[in-house]
Structure formats: structure tokens, C-alpha cells
Amino acid sequence: MSSLLEVQGVSVTFDGFRAINNLSFQIGMPEMRAVIGPNGAGKTTFMDIVTGKTRPDTGSVRWGDLGHSLLSMSEAQIAQAGIGRKFQRPTVFEDQSVQDNLRVALKKPRGPIAAILDRTTDTDRARISEIAGEIGLADHLSTRAGILSHGQKQWLEIGMLLAQDPKLLLVDEPAAGMTTEEREHTTALLKRLAETHAVVVVEHDMEFVRRLDCRVTVLHEGAVLAEGSLEHVMADGRVVDVYLGR
């Protein structure tokens, strides 16, 4: 298993506050990784760094076999290189239909001219309905995304991630606002994806993480506190302290 993403010694400071502190992280393909940690630990900021939204003060972020630095790439280039992201707060294009949301996300050429000339082929249509079936929105293809429930928006955003077909999926709190059944469905979907992709899931819900049954990285105050199986990290006294009170 060669490394797909390699983050090394990264630090970020917001107005003097060190949100990420000498963080190192590595994931290969295929692999599933859960990232846990209390609120404010820096989980979302970590994803911001990988996707190019936030530029770190120090450290390196390398991608793929050739170890290209992501730090010199724009958000769009990073996404095109194969990193997809689902945001903590579901962000879909509320003004547009479920179908159009998926269509925009679908892996196809990204330039303006290509977009003007783009015709939805039968393959595209098949892929869109396949994804819509997967995320339980098959009957809502022409529904405006803005009127979907919170859980459905989460699903739609996961669907957009699938449509993008990235190599690495960064999934920030996917289960928030979902029912127990939906959570189970999400875990199953993520696990299946992790057979062929690299998947990083941030989640608070321990039950959810347990079901993912994967290596866990615990973040605390912007640094890795512990890493290993869930049992292993939960047996770590420092992790228990961080979670159960200070």
C-alpha cells in the first residue's frame, strides 16, 4: 500500500491561535480512516488544508505516487487531481434540482466551453439515476435541493461526491441529521467505497465510528493524539481525558 496523501509537520495559525499544530497524517489507497476529536480539535481545518481552502504556515502536503505538493495548487486543481469533499454543513446548490446538482458534480471535463457544449449522454443519465438510487433520492430527481430535509441534503452531497468519482474522499460529519437507518446505510456505503478509494471520515458519533471498523486518528488541539484501532485509542488514558473531561 503506497501512500496517497501525506501530510507532514503542518501548522496553521489564525490570529495567533494555533488551530493545527505540527500535524502529520498519512493515508493510502484503498483505506478507510476515521478522524475523531472534540469540537475545535482542528478536524475541519485539516480538511481545509488538504483541499486548498486554507494554506498552512509550515509543513508539506503531498499527493499521489509522484508526491506532488498540493500547496501550490488551486482548490479546483486539487479537486481535479482527485480529492472530493463533503462539508460539515451540507452545501448543495439549493436553487437547483437534485438532478442538476448531480450533473454538475459528474466527472467530466471542467472547462467553460466543455460545459456549454455538454450534452447529458445515456451513460450520464444512467450514472445519475444509479447514484440517485444509492442515496435514496431516485424519486426526487427534479425536486429543488433547497426543499430537501437536512438528512436528504447530506445524502445529496454524498451523491455529488460519488458523481465526482475522486480517489480520496474527505467526509466531514456525514451522519449529522440522519436517522439510525440512514446512518447504517451511510456506513455501508462508505465501507463499500473504501474498498476501492481512500476515505477519511470525521465523525463524533462513536457508534458510527465503531461500525466503520477502521483505523482511527484522534486529533486534539490541532495535533494527532493517538492512532490505531478504536479499542486501542480508547484504551489510551489521554484520549479518555480529552473526551470525558478536563
Binding site: 479546483a76 479537486a79 472530493g84 446548490f93 437547483q96 454538475v104 460545459a115
Partner: protein, 387 residues
């Protein structure tokens, strides 16, 4: 074309535009009853050009979320572009006619010199400024009408979008652009006759024998065709995936970036395309207006453009057209001395002064009570019909 079969609003719009054009034609002085005067035909033709500019504004603001308050600069550049050709050709014809009386026929250089003197003596110059180099060729002038606004939009947009200037900062920057251009043109030595501007543009070279009655309706037709074509093209553009992407940029540009789209390229494309559309609209407008001067592209003009689109309802193409048509026609009515002033004892409402107040009030009312604009009211009525 599938845009016609799929898009009901395009069919309705084109239908109304065709009926309107026919109606004006059969009431025109040149080809009909004469119920519509030549000057009012021009007003209507100019209104269609303003609708075209508003359509462009709706694409860039209503669909792509870029509140440009500088698009009238492109409109003005189109006007100056056609104006230079019109003035050169027309003045040259007059000069030739005057010199024809002499014993020795004038050389080309003499004609050219005399024409330049005629055009530029108002600003104390007598030579052709460099920017008039293409003014003796209609073809080159038409190329410049597209190229100059397009290039300015491209360079400005590239600089602004590349540095991710957005929101109110971008609006201010576009205001600065149109203000700078207008101040530049106001100077006498920049080659475009300073505050005199270009005039006599209603006289079409080679058509001296044809009356303004016919010329006015021809320009009206040309404006209608331009608006119709642009409407269909715009509807086609926004019905494509490109349309979904720019609406995505309007609502959440960061999200679009994380899907792998280079937002800057899309914005630049829309900004430049709409700049060109405004240039074309201006090139059709000013021969009907007859005169252009730097005041036309003062910052307020671009703000009006945004107000029309806001009143008409942004994010729907017919909204922009309705807004521009209604507001600019009302403006002509109230400021053109057509509206009777109202005497209230010692106080007298003179519409020329009160029109901006009325417009401001209308703007506030629409914003409060019809946030989707007048175009939104159309939706409301149509939906009711169907129910």
C-alpha cells in the same frame, strides 16, 4: 432548435417581440399609418437596445452573481466605435462635396486633412488621433465594436477575478472603471472630442437620400433582431450545464471550486461575453440617439442598468427585459416633458426633478413587495392561469 421546443418563455418572448415589431412597423411613418412618429420610433428602438444591455446585466449579475456596476462603459465603447465610423464617413462626404466645386480635384490627403480639421477643430486639433485609424473602414469598425469592449472586459475581469475580488469590492472597482473611462473621455486631447462627444450619428453614410423615417425603422428592426438573437442565445447558454455552474457560482462559489471548476474562468467568460453584448447594444443605440458624449458612461448609468434588472427581476431573462423597457420608457415619459406637471398651490411637481424620487420609491416598493421583481409577477399570473 431545441431551445424553442423546450423553453416556453423563449417562445412567448420571441412571439411578443415579433408582434411588437410588426405593430410598430404598421404604425410607422415609413411603412404604415404614421401613428408612431419618427422620434418615437427611435425611442422604441433605443429601448430595445437598453433591453439588450439589461439582458447582459442579468446574465452577469442575475445568473453569475457578479454585481458589475460598470457595464455601461462597454455600451458606451460600442457607441464610440460606431460613432467614429459614422462621423468620419459622413464628414468626408460633406468635405468632398464642398471641395468638388474647385478647379483642381482635391487629393486624397487633402480630403483626409480637411475631414480631420472639420471633426477635431472643436477641440483645437487638426490631425487624426491614433484611435481613429480604423474609422474609415466599416468592417474594421464593426470588429472594434466587439473587440474593444471585449478586451477591456477581459483584462479588467482577469485582474479582478484572479485576485478573487468579489461582492461590494468588485462593484466599487467596476464603478471606478467606468468613472475613469468617462473622465478620460472628457479630456479634450484624448482624441474623442472631449465633452463634445460624437454627433450627427443619425446620418448614415451612403443613405443621404433616404429619409429618417425609413432609417429609424430599419434601426428599430436591427435592434429587435439583436435582442431576439441575444435572448435565444442567452436562454440556450443558461439551459446548458454552463448555466447550472454559473448559478452555482452565484450561490456558493467555493462549493463550485471544490467540484474542480475554475470559477475565475467562468466569471471571466461571462463578464467578457456580456461586455461584448453591451458593446453591440451601444453600437445600435447611438445611431438612433444621434449623439454620444462621456456623460453617457458616467457611473450612474451603470447603476441604472442594475436598477432596471432588479426591478424587472434578476435571474430570469424576461425580467431584465421588462425592467429595462418599463423603467426606461417611464423615464423618457417623465423626463422628456411629456408628463404634465402638477400644480399644488404654491408648490409645483415638476416631473423632471421628481422622476428620480419616483424611481427610487418604485425600487424600494419592488424590493419590499415583489422581491422577484416585475418578472416575478409575470410568473405569478401565468401560474394562476394554469391552475
Amino acid at each position: 432548435m431545441s431551445i424553442f421546443t423546450q423553453n416556453r418563455s423563449v417562445r412567448i418572448f420571441i412571439g411578443i417581440l415579433v408582434l411588437f415589431t410588426l405593430g410598430v412597423t404598421v404604425m410607422s411613418e415609413a411603412y404604415g399609418t404614421g401613428a408612431i412618429s419618427v422620434s418615437f420610433t427611435k425611442v422604441l428602438g433605443m429601448t430595445l437596445c437598453l433591453c439588450l444591455a439589461a439582458l447582459a446585466m442579468d446574465l452577469v449579475w442575475g445568473y453569475c452573481g457578479i454585481l458589475s456596476l460598470g457595464h455601461f462603459a462597454f455600451f458606451g465603447l460600442g457607441g464610440y466605435g460606431i460613432g467614429m465610423w459614422l462621423m468620419t464617413a459622413r464628414t468626408e462626404a460633406v468635405v468632398r462635396a464642398n471641395l468638388a466645386g474647385g478647379v483642381i480635384p482635391p487629393t486624397e490627403a487633402e480630403v483626409s486633412q480637411a475631414t480631420a480639421l472639420q471633426i477635431f477643430s472643436v477641440v483645437g486639433a487638426e490631425d487624426w488621433p491614433w484611435m481613429w485609424a480604423a474609422s474609415d473602414s466599416l468592417f474594421l469598425s464593426l470588429v472594434l465594436i466587439v473587440a474593444v469592449p471585449g478586451l477591456l472586459a477581459l483584462v479588467f475581469g482577469w485582474l479582478a477575478f484572479r485576485s478573487r475580488v468579489t461582492g461590494v469590492y468588485l462593484s466599487i472597482l467596476t464603478q471606478a472603471m467606468t468613472l475613469a473611462l468617462s473622465l478620460y473621455l472628457f479630456q479634450n486631447d484624448t482624441g474623442l472630442r472631449g465633452n463634445n462627444g460624437l454627433s450627427g450619428l443619425q446620418n448614415i453614410p451612403g443613405a443621404e437620400a433616404i429619409g429618417q423615417d425609413r432609417i429609424s425603422i430599419w434601426f428599430f428592426w436591427a435592434s429587435a433582431v439583436a435582442l431576439g438573437l441575444a435572448y435565444v442565445a442567452a436562454a440556450w447558454l443558461i439551459s446548458s450545464k454552463f448555466g447550472n455552474i454559473i448559478r452555482g457560482i452565484r450561490d456558493d462559489e467555493q462549493r463550485v471550486r471544490f467540484l474542480g471548476y475554475r470559477v475565475e474562468s467562468y466569471k471571466l467568460f461571462v463578464f467578457t461575453l456580456t461586455g461584448i453584448l453591451c458593446g453591440i447594444a451601444g453600437a445600435l443605440y447611438y445611431p438612433q440617439a444621434g449623439i454620444i458624449n462621456p456623460d453617457e458612461i458616467a457611473p450612474i448609468a451603470s447603476i441604472y442598468l442594475a436598477v432596471w434588472v432588479a426591478i424587472g427581476g434578476r435571474g430570469r431573462l424576461y425580467g431584465a427585459v421588462i425592467g429595462a423597457a418599463v423603467v426606461s420608457l417611464l423615464s423618457t415619459y417623465f423626463t422628456g416633458g411629456r408628463a404634465p406637471d402638477i400644480a399644488l398651490g404654491a408648490f409645483r411637481i415638476e416631473w423632471v426633478d421628481w422622476w428620480p424620487v419616483l424611481l427610487g420609491l418604485g425600487f424600494v416598493l419592488v424590493t419590499l413587495f415583489a422581491p422577484k421583481g416585475l418578472g416575478g409577477l409575470v410568473d405569478y399570473v401565468v401560474r394562476k392561469d394554469r391552475a
